[in-house]
């Protein structure tokens, strides 16, 4: 891949920045932890445990989830050729949430091949919503992406009301778990969570990176892509599958964390341009960096209390969404 100097500098900056934040963030928190405490578990067991079993997994999970959500957002924006198309505006995160809520209600919490039942149910929920949205686009010709977004909002509302119903028929403890989960958050203990997200990210991102040339062509229009030789149907199916993996995997573990998938690809487009061969890498790196910073901020700004990270991303994302809406309408 031939990179311009600017692209190389930005990608390197995002890589080094991500590396540094993942390295530094676990030391930051309600209580700062020094390096010697981290290395000597026998002498400082509390700090050692907080660092290795709470903060490091959380920081890693934040990075992986940010990268996954940002990549999914980029893919939707290109597939639908609409800057407002994201897993959330299309109702896909709500579908994944519904899947997870049903799994919690039915007690599917056991691990299957290292992946929890909740994750699998969230993935199935994401896939079902993707199929629904995809089906809507195929229902009649000339389905505009604006109409599609409205349909996504409607689908999101529908799933949210079903989630409420599931909660209503759940026990107190199940209902609490669902509510806590719906608030979104990255509070995990141990490496199980980041490790169980890893296969979703590797496969989902792998498919997207493999199809960056096709994404470039799809971004210019389906007819254009097909006439250049892209198997549009197969490519779309693969990309919908990949985004379902990414969104389903993240939402199952972290709950709904909005706006990462919308903001990061846009900022990266401004930084490195529209070529997906570079953009996909930049978006993943930026998404990881962004969510890790947001989460570090969320758990330190009003310590000892924590702000759910979804609140931070929404506080940034809401105004960004409005800005984008005005900008898109004015084009």
């Amino acid at each position: 891949m031939n990179l311009s100097k600017r692209e190389s500098v930005i990608l390197l900056g995002l890589l080094v920045g991500g590396f540094l934040i993942v390295l530094v963030a676990p030391f930051v928190g309600m209580q700062a932890i020094s390096i010697e405490h981290v290395l000597d578990g026998a002498k400082f067991p509390v700090d050692y445990d907080i660092f290795w079993h709470v903060r490091v997994p959380r920081v890693l999970l934040a990075w992986l989830a940010g990268a996954a959500l940002a990549l999914a957002g980029m893919t939707f924006q290109s597939l639908f050729r609409n800057p407002l198309a994201t897993p959330f505006t299309l109702g896909i995160a709500s579908g994944a949430s519904l899947g997870a809520a049903i799994a919690i209600r039915l007690g599917w919490t056991v691990l299957w091949l290292g992946v929890s039942g909740v994750s699998i149910a969230a993935f199935v929920g994401a896939l079902a919503s993707v199929l629904l949205v995809f089906g809507l686009t195929r229902l009649r010709r000339g389905f505009s992406s604006g109409t599609l977004l409205l349909a996504g909002v409607a689908v999101g509302f529908f799933f949210s009301s079903v989630i409420l119903f599931v909660q209503y028929i759940s026990s107190f403890s199940e209902s609490y778990r669902i509510i806590r989960w719906l608030m979104g958050g990255l509070e995990v203990v141990g490496m199980d969570a980041p490790l169980s997200l890893l296969p979703f990210l590797v496969v989902g991102a792998g498919i997207i990176f493999y199809l960056t040339r096709e994404l470039n062509l799809l971004a210019t229009g389906e007819d254009m892509a097909a006439s250049r030789g892209v198997d549009v149907k197969l490519t779309r199916q693969l990309l919908f599958f990949a985004t379902s993996l990414l969104v389903g995997g993240v939402v199952a573990l972290c709950g709904p964390i909005g706006f990462v998938g919308m903001m990061c690809p846009h900022i990266c487009r401004l930084l490195v341009g529209p070529n997906h061969r570079v953009l996909a890498v930049a978006t993943a790196l930026f998404g990881g960096l962004f969510l890790t910073i947001c989460d570090t901020f969320a758990r330190t700004v009003i310590a000892p209390a924590e702000i759910p990270v979804g609140v931070i991303t929404a506080l940034l994302g809401g105004p960004f969404f409005l800005w984008l809406l005005v900008r898109v309408r004015s084009v």
């Binding site: 891949m1 031939n2 050729r81 010709r141 493999y210 040339r213 470039n216 062509l217 971004a219 210019t220 229009g221 389906e222 007819d223 254009m224 097909a226 006439s227 250049r228 030789g229 892209v230 198997d231 549009v232 487009r269 341009g273 529209p274 070529n275």
Partner: protein, 258 residues
């Protein structure tokens, strides 16, 4: 006569239950310039969309270089047929060169980078379309005429034997129309590319096509030499109105504007 490069036999197609094309047959020879004309809704664009499989579910047979259309992968088909769609107005900030480079897609596999001969093909396409000077400009900063030449350049970079153009000059002013015509004429004369264009410009069809296919209500109304379209009231029957005819200074027939 040599084997046609594209052979359409008894093609019928409809969206839902509404028929758009009915029993259309047409053979296109290599190096031919075919203009497809007809009133709005006659099925002109749909016909070329069937050829590049942008619509599915037609009846009849389409042979490309003697082989059934179904026997081609989309990538292999793109090495023979290249389609220039109507611009839909949505543009991206790809640079002109990056967009033209996408025309090399059918010649590349997933993990191969563009090689020297790909870059040479992109340079030739930019040069043919007169876009060398604009190579690094973002495509959303191009004028309408430049944009149309860009779409044609990407199709040229594809190095397909047949170029299918959907109203390539419809929204352009006369100067830009002439520029696009010039690019296409050179491409045909120097590279023997087969040109199939849907057009509403009847004079363009009369002057630049070897044959004209007139569609009316999804059926073949006329297929033959351009001058034949003006005979026996065919043109009047095609559009349901009368036309005033004259002679162009170069001697050919010309349809006068109202």
């Amino acid at each position: 006569m040599s084997e046609p490069i594209v052979d359409v036999r008894g093609l019928s197609f409809g969206y839902g239950t509404a028929p758009v094309l009915t029993d259309v047959s047409c053979s296109i020879a290599a190096g031919e310039r075919l203009a497809i004309v007809g009133p709005n809704g006659a099925g002109k664009s749909t016909l070329i969309k069937c050829l590049v499989r942008l619509v599915a579910g037609f009846k009849g047979e389409i042979l490309v270089q003697g082989q059934p259309l179904d026997s081609y992968s989309q990538r292999a088909l793109a090495r023979v047929l290249s389609y220039v769609p109507q611009a839909d107005g949505r543009m991206f900030s790809f640079t002109v060169r990056d967009f033209v480079a996408m025309g090399r897609y059918p010649h590349l596999s997933a993990f191969t980078a563009r090689r020297a001969h790909d870059e040479a093909a992109i340079d030739r396409a930019l040069s043919r379309a007169g876009l060398d000077a604009l190579a690094s400009r973002p495509m959303d900063q191009l004028s309408g005429g430049e944009r149309q030449r860009l779409f044609i350049a990407a199709a040229i970079a594809q190095e397909a034997a047949v170029l299918l153009l959907d109203e390539p000059t419809t929204f352009l002013d006369p100067r830009h129309q002439q520029e696009v015509e010039g690019v296409l004429a050179n491409l045909h004369d120097e590279c023997n590319v087969t040109l199939v264009s849907v057009t509403h410009d009847l004079n363009r069809a009369l002057r630049h096509a070897d044959r004209v296919l007139a569609l009316r209500g999804g059926r073949v109304h006329y297929l033959g030499a351009p001058a034949g379209l003006l005979e026996a009231g065919r043109l009047e029957a095609l559009f349901g109105r009368t036309f005033a005819l004259s002679t162009h200074p170069d001697g050919g027939p010309m349809i006068l504007p109202d």
